[in-house]
């Protein structure tokens, strides 16, 4: 049977070959000029005599991309960057960078390959770049900066930027099954220091079995591993391996579409020749099953899912976080007379590209419980079991409204430091109202609203208090095209959290070895309003006034606010 299948197979290359039949040399790029004048204010300044009250900064940068196609099967892309800080007068602060270098093509019309800087994603449990905190809505005034953060950090949807080599190959069949696909990638995750710190590599592979258009299976695997021999004085190495099987099927009947998606898999963390490491491998598994029903009239999508992610499930490429909550902020990075590092606030998260990570890390990174305590590591967050309910209403036929709702009701599988388990609730709402379509205007007038409520609770035990942590985030945005190509943009984000938690501290092997008490009673708001002139679809100039204000009831003496005026010229070509 297998022999007959293979004999009937036709070797094929996927998708990329036709894209090369274009110009031999093509230019593209981006440019940005940002000037930001910020002022610090608030109670903090009554005692802080050290921190500067004003900061004016910014930069001008230009990315030039060249794509060369020497033949129909080869494409080379190089993007160079010239950047100058706004206070780097006469070129004194100029920086030249090679931002991307990629070669890709098709070998023998069969195997697609990519070498250099490549973007990789697989499934949410194996290789996935999860969205960071405070991305609950689609307010255009904030999306301007979210896009900059994504661009600067190479976040392309859910892909991680890797530096390595990937290949893809497929077989199509005339009978039995439809196709088989093979994908593989290996990249360097960390450079050796040649002495004690070994190279770390990231590898992934996928085999896809397409039975027909409605039934597909994928076998997915990742491995983050060290190469002990790459460091002269090192014998220690570790590896985190994940394997999963995912499947998807669906159908359509009259005005209803349905889909069933599932993924299940396991991980294993292996330590070799490390005396202080756990003796046994750290192993666990996960299961994720989701059923979706889509009504075509009215356009409504309902999804119900069940997830079970083990407490020791480790998948670095799916659990690595974008936001580094311990990073210093670019503006007013240190404060008080002791010049301590200023903790990040929602303004930093919304505006500062430098507080984000670009690499996959083997350990579970720190997070702020008040910002996201339910799934700080994405859907693959370990130690979670429960239900997901998603509803998406795609609007009426005139496209005036659209709305969505997501709810997650989860519990822990194992208690942390106690037999009691935490219970989590995560409720999100998004809505967009295109008012211009309601009143018959041609010019854009849209209102965007979003909200998120999270709660964490755990019963107390003798000598240990209960856990009760609640947080709310609300976001509202308005876009109004006043005259042709001139928009008024406004956005407001508000956040409030109160309660207590116990934060697990982990050792170098990702094992919980201590807990610290965490208490919060804080609120913040960030507003942004201004004008944007669109020269065309890809070039615009905006002037925004922004204000951030925070209140921490636990340390009111360090309450402060920041207001700023920001000029942004953005160009893509």
């Amino acid at each position: 049977m297998l022999r007959r299948l293979l004999l009937s197979a036709a070797v094929c290359a996927w998708a990329i070959a036709p894209a090369f039949a274009q110009n031999k040399v093509q230019f593209g790029g981006a440019g940005r000029l940002l000037i930001d004048n910020a002022q610090l204010d608030g109670t903090l300044l009554e005692t802080d005599t050290t921190t500067a009250r004003r900061e004016m900064g910014g930069s001008a940068l230009f990315d030039l991309g060249i794509t060369i196609r020497p033949d129909d099967n080869t494409e080379i892309t190089a993007i160079t960057r010239v950047e100058n800080d706004i206070d780097g007068f006469w070129g004194a602060g100029i920086v030249f960078q090679l931002r991307q270098l990629t070669a890709k093509g098709v070998i023998a019309n069969s195997v697609r390959y990519g070498i250099g800087d490549i973007d990789v994603a697989l499934t949410p449990y194996t290789f996935w770049n999860n969205a960071s905190e405070f991305r609950i809505g689609q307010t255009p005034a904030f999306n301007v900066f979210r896009d900059i953060i994504d661009y600067e950090n190479f976040y392309a949807d859910s892909a991680w930027r890797q530096q390595g080599v990937e290949a893809e190959w497929g077989l199509q069949f005339n009978r039995g099954i439809q196709a088989l696909r093979f994908r593989g990638m290996i990249a360097k995750n960390r450079q050796t220091d040649f002495f004690t710190l070994p190279d770390r590599m990231m590898a992934m592979g996928q085999i896809g079995l397409h039975v027909n258009n409605n039934l597909r299976f994928h076998l997915n695997a990742t491995n983050l591993f060290e190469v002990a021999e790459s460091a002269q004085f090192n014998t220690e190495e570790s590896a985190t391996r994940v394997i999963s099987l995912s499947g998807s099927t669906g159908g359509e009947k009259e005005k209803i579409r349905w889909r069933l998606d599932g993924e299940g898999g396991a991980s294993s963390v292996v330590f070799t020749d490390i005396p202080e490491a756990p003796v046994d491998n750290i192993e666990d598994f996960f299961v994720d099953v989701r059923g979706t029903v889509e009504l075509l009239q009215p356009r409504l999508e309902l999804q119900l899912g069940y997830v079970d992610v083990g407490a020791d499930f480790r998948s670095p490429a799916a659990q690595s976080r974008r936001l580094d909550v311990d990073a210093p902020a670019q503006q007013f990075g240190f404060y008080t007379n002791r010049e301590v590092q200023r903790p990040l606030n929602i303004r930093d998260v919304l505006l500062d590209p430098l507080v984000y990570e670009r690499t996959i890390t083997p350990g579970l990174q720190a997070f702020v419980p008040a910002w996201d305590n339910v799934r700080p590591y994405g859907v693959a967050t370990p130690n979670r079991r429960g239900l997901d309910l998603n509803v998406l209403w795609n609007g009426d036929t005139a496209g005036r409204f659209e709305a969505g709702m997501q709810a997650a009701l989860l519990t822990e599988l194992r208690g942390e430091g106690t037999t009691e388990k935490r219970r989590f609730v995560d409720l999100r709402l998004q809505a967009a109202w295109h008012l211009n379509r309601s009143i018959g205007w041609k010019k854009d007038l849209s209102l965007h609203l979003a909200g998120r409520y999270q709660s964490t609770s755990r019963d107390g035990t003798p000598g240990v208090s209960e856990v009760a942590l609640n947080s709310v985030i609300a976001e509202a945005g308005l876009t109004w095209e006043l005259i042709d190509q001139l928009d008024l943009m406004a956005g407001l984000m508000w956040y409030q959290a109160d309660g207590n938690e116990f934060i697990a501290e982990r050792d170098g092997f990702n094992q919980v070895d201590f807990f610290s008490a965490y208490t919060v009673d804080a609120s913040e708001w960030f507003g942004s309003a201004g004008l944007r002139y669109r020269f065309n679809e890809s070039i615009n100039l905006s002037l925004q006034m922004q204000q951030w204000s925070g209140m921490d009831a636990l340390s009111p003496q360090t309450d402060y606010s920041i207001r700023n005026v920001l000029l942004l010229y953005n160009m893509f070509f």
Partner: protein
């Protein structure tokens, strides 16, 4: 019904999972604090010269950060041991006569230990007095860069502007960490550049060799140790540079050859021993000052010069800074533990 086998597999796998709590018991960390057994020691006279040590013991009801400070009240010598175990005994609270804040503990000294708790400041307790009948011998071996006992003509003092530096040389105004004399740097950052003054110790001047011969190429195995005297000025920062002669031509070229360095805020008062493996140093980020390594790698067998740089890091409120240096020494496999 078709999903039944799958559900069964999940249930079976789930049954294989460990179900106990993750990590230590919260009760052990956040429960009620009680001293179950007060601080005591296994001896009141100790002779460190024959390898004896003192074991302190105490028991508390929860895991909480604690600090054991063994102090000679008359000289100011201090040894600090820190931990968070609730059973304070054995190796976590053993003292071998070494020192954290100089001067060294000497024969005839009478010391007393204080056990304190960060989160329970009222619960501190003291040991019985302990008499030292024999002091710990100074460790032998290692590559001594400078003990500053002589005028050290081979050492090169430098500054950005001479008017910023008020002292940069051998001194003996207050007791040294070891011996009689030490190096003292004192100055003020007047022009906002952070840098105040520095001291260069070359291999040729201090060892008579072209590079420091450490006989070990593994940066994780080679420690650099130096006593640093802090004066309590909050802006004081020390940078220690290790300059490599990457092409072995006998000359350090800052635009082409690497400098690996490490920075310490000097926020204490008195002599404190700094020890770190050379693996903790990182390539300089100062453009044109060692930020390019011709060979692209840290090579500790090519260290030609050491530099001690005094910075006034904050530079806005209080830009006067000073520090002392004593007994700078490389050791192999273990830190210097006098």
């Amino acid at each position: 019904m078709k999903l039944f086998p799958l559900a069964l597999v999940v249930l079976l796998l789930g049954a294989c999972r460990e179900s106990g709590p993750l990590g230590p018991e919260l009760q052990d960390i956040f429960g009620e604090f009680e001293v179950l057994e007060p601080l005591s020691q296994d001896k009141t006279e100790v002779d460190f010269s024959i390898g004896e040590s003192v074991e302190f013991t105490a028991q508390i009801s929860i895991r909480t950060p604690w600090r054991l400070v063994i102090r000679n009240a008359s000289t100011g010598a201090r040894k600090i041991i820190e931990g968070n175990a609730k059973d304070i005994s054995g190796d976590v609270a053993r003292w071998n006569g070494s020192v954290t804040f100089a001067p060294l503990f000497m024969e005839g000294d009478v010391v007393q230990a204080t056990l304190s708790f960060t989160e329970f400041p009222d619960a501190s307790m003291m040991s019985d007095p302990i008499t030292i009948t024999g002091s710990r011998p100074l460790p032998t071996g290692g590559v001594l860069v400078a003990d500053f006992e002589m005028d050290n003509p081979g050492l090169e003092a430098f500054s950005e502007f001479s008017f910023e530096e008020t002292k940069n040389g051998v001194d003996s105004l207050f007791p040294a960490a070891i011996g009689e004399r030490y190096w003292f740097m004192d100055g003020r950052d007047n022009n906002g550049s952070v840098f105040v003054c520095g001291l260069l110790a070359s291999a040729e001047a201090t060892q008579g060799t072209s590079v420091f011969e450490l006989n070990n190429e593994n940066p994780a195995s080679v420690y650099f140790n130096v006593f640093v005297f802090g004066t309590g000025q909050p802006s004081t920062t020390l940078v220690i540079d290790f300059q490599e002669d990457d092409n072995l031509d006998g000359v350090y070229s800052p635009t082409q050859e690497g400098t690996y360095n490490i920075t310490f805020p000097i926020d204490w008062t008195g002599w404190r021993l700094l020890s770190f493996p050379l693996s903790e140093t990182t390539l300089s980020t100062n453009g044109g000052l060692g930020n390019i390594d011709a060979n692209g790698a840290k090579e500790i067998d090519r260290i030609i010069n050491l530099q001690f740089i005094l910075l006034s890091e904050l530079g806005q409120n209080d830009n006067a800074v000073s520090l002392g240096l004593d007994h700078a020494i490389f050791t192999v496999n273990t830190p210097f533990e006098p």
